[in-house]
């Protein structure tokens, strides 16, 4: 039993997961093998579809920048993020201030 971890509430079996991925991978290969075989490399079939526009030569004009990732999530949580980022001032005095504040709070909780 090298693979199974009993948590007291449930268990984790790594080989069960590996078997799952193996079966899943096999099914993917099977479905792929059922696809069309008349695909020709280097022809129009190989062209990138870019909304019927010419494909830019440099990938720079195509890529999605990291700052666009999770735009909806950050917009939806804008007030939360404004507050959170505002706390991260980057000022060394604030770093020390937070440390002193936490020490004082914990001291209050423990000593009083």
């Amino acid at each position: 039993m090298w693979s199974k971890v009993l948590t007291g509430f449930g268990y984790w079996d790594v080989y069960a997961w590996l078997s799952f991925f193996l079966v899943g991978g096999g099914m993917v290969c099977l479905i792929r093998s059922l696809g069309r075989t008349d695909y020709k490399e280097g022809t129009d079939q190989d062209e990138i579809f870019f909304g019927s526009n010419p494909v830019p030569e440099d990938g720079e004009d195509l890529k999605v920048p990291a700052s666009s990732a999770y735009w909806g999530y950050t917009q939806a949580l804008k007030p939360f993020y404004e507050g959170l980022v505002g706390l991260h001032t980057g000022m060394a005095t604030d770093y020390v201030g937070w440390y002193i504040l936490v020490t004082a709070l914990v001291a209050l909780l423990v000593l009083v």
């Binding site: 693979s3 509430f9 984790w12 991260h88 604030d94 020390v96």
Partner: protein, 526 residues
């Protein structure tokens, strides 16, 4: 006498010797210096492994420096140990072992990564000094030496964070790190002074034997706790961490991950071994739990919106430290109640301990992969990257292993420790598990962001000449990837041989205390 009796001393002497000889090896050229760097790093990994095996087979090891005999803790009828004493139990040995692996990976990686820069003899010397301090914190048996080793590792780290001194950001990060670390270390010293003034001892086992729950002890505990929580990057005292981790050379950051774990080790040694069952209040465990939840959630929330790869991964460090604090906090809460320990406390502790090793391995690998991207492209900003999967396929594969592990994707090891933490913390309050699971989802989201931004997408013209990173860098990353795969494929072995002995040692306060006083009896015969 068996030479392995001296493993605790060798563990400190070898890297210290490595540090002081490093400038001399430079006379023999780059080849000799690099060979020295690798040889000493490999030697300390072997020593750490032997120490772990030794402690696993024969129990806690006590080593006395500067005394009549190495195992004579109480000479001449003394009732308290006064020498420089090291005590290595299963938890210390576990920490030393995983720290040595991270330090080795960082060293192998740095051989190629730092090749373009001058001052490497200073780099190697500082690196080994940092490692000496880190090991010292993990094996010392007294508080004053803990403070000394904390300072050694911190001062060496300041120099390494500021190693690229032509970058203003690196100097600023080192200054901030120095400011908060020095303040934290001073508070540790004040806490030691409080306990020394009360009990006239600085030895951990002796303190654990006599400590009571009074005003002085409470004050010392508060100072220890907040200082060490700050040093391991707990929210809201975490802000130095993204600055320092992102600016240090990648190999150093990999080792810094282990250095911050040494502070975490100190925190748990204080809470479990010194105070332990004498802690007459649930306030401290709950404070640790709250700091853990805040660290998990705030850390990952900040990580999601980062654009600079090093800072993104560093904010994840804050988040992962939160998991450990949560697991250990719940374990501490259950301590003293045998039923609670059996029901969920020991599982939470195992989760916390397992997460320490998982975190050190995959976080080290992530920082090295980020360094590899910087080495290959000269970019740190994810907005400037893209399509690198074609150019850096091996780096991408290694990054994927670490990213899948930290996100807890099956069948990787990250989920095993998280599962133990989710289930055990649920028994205390379901909201704790909810926070832990939401954090895990956001962790996956942010690593998908890195993967998509850096490796996927169309090929960029500016990266047309980018080549796969050198072999030594891949070698450093592979060490950690192999460790991750091993932990993933053999979770039961890892739990039984690595994690459980360490978790049991933390709960077994009597064994840690007894080892010093028992060695007094046996050592007298030598």
């Amino acid at each position: 006498m068996n030479w392995q009796d001296h493993l605790p001393a060798l563990l400190l002497a070898v890297p210290l010797f490595g540090a002081f000889l490093a400038p001399l090896t430079n006379i023999g050229g780059k080849g000799l210096r690099n060979a020295w760097f690798l040889l000493v790093s490999a030697a300390i990994t072997v020593l750490a492994f032997l120490l772990w095996v030794r402690v696993g087979s024969s129990g806690p090891l006590v080593y006395v420096m500067g005394g009549q005999a190495w195992n004579l803790a109480l000479p001449s009828g003394m009732s308290i140990p006064v020498r420089i004493l090291m005590e290595v139990d299963a938890f210390s040995a576990f920490m030393v072992l995983l720290s040595s692996v991270a330090a080795l990976a960082g060293a192998v990686f740095s051989v190629a990564y730092m090749e373009r820069f001058s001052g490497m003899e200073k780099f190697v010397a500082l690196y080994f000094l940092m490692v000496t301090g880190m090991f010292g914190m993990q094996v010392t048996g007294d508080f004053f030496n803990f403070f000394v080793f904390l300072e050694i590792s911190s001062v060496a780290s300041f120099g390494l964070v500021a190693f690229w001194r032509d970058r203003g950001e690196a100097l600023e990060a080192a200054f901030k790190y120095m400011l908060v670390s020095t303040l934290g270390a001073l508070m540790v010293l004040v806490a030691v002074a409080f306990l020394y003034s009360r009990y006239n001892v600085v030895n951990m086992a002796a303190l654990g034997k006599v400590i009571e729950w009074g005003m002085v002890e409470k004050t010392a505990l508060v100072l220890f706790m907040t200082a060490l929580a700050m040093k391991c990057g707990s929210v809201p005292m975490h802000m130095w961490m993204p600055d320092a981790y992102a600016e240090a050379p990648a190999g150093v950051t990999c080792a810094l991950v282990a250095v911050s774990q040494a502070s975490l080790y100190g925190l748990f040694r204080v809470c479990f071994t010194i105070y332990g069952s004498f802690m007459g209040s649930p306030v401290i465990p709950w404070v640790i739990i709250v700091l853990g939840v805040l660290s998990m959630f705030i850390g990952v929330s900040m990580a999601v919106i980062q654009k600079e790869i090093g800072r993104l991964i560093a904010y994840h460090s804050v988040s992962q430290v939160g998991y450990m604090l949560l697991g250990f906090g719940v374990g501490l809460l259950a301590m003293g109640d045998a039923k609670a320990v059996a029901d969920y406390g020991f599982t939470a502790l195992k989760g916390g301990v397992f997460h320490i090793v998982n975190y050190t391995m995959y976080k080290g690998l992530l920082f090295l992969a980020a360094g590899a991207l910087y080495y290959a492209t000269g970019c740190r900003n994810l907005n400037d990257m893209g399509g690198l999967g074609r150019k850096l396929p091996k780096t991408m594969a290694l990054f994927m292993i670490a990213a899948a592990a930290i996100a807890g994707l099956p069948p990787f090891n990250g989920f095993v420790s998280k599962l133990l933490i989710y289930e055990s913390t649920f028994a205390v309050h379901p909201i704790l598990s909810v926070f832990a699971m939401v954090t895990s989802v956001l962790t996956l989201a942010s690593f998908v962001k890195i993967f998509q931004s850096a490796f996927l997408g169309p090929q960029l013209k500016k990266f047309a000449d980018v080549k796969e990173v050198p072999g030594f860098m891949l070698g450093g990353m592979t060490i950690l990837a192999v460790a991750i795969l091993f932990l993933s494929l053999f979770p039961t072995w890892s739990l039984n041989h690595l994690v459980e002995p360490a978790a049991k040692a933390l709960l077994d306060q009597a064994s840690y205390i007894g080892a010093v006083f028992a060695s007094a009896a046996t050592g007298g015969g030598l």
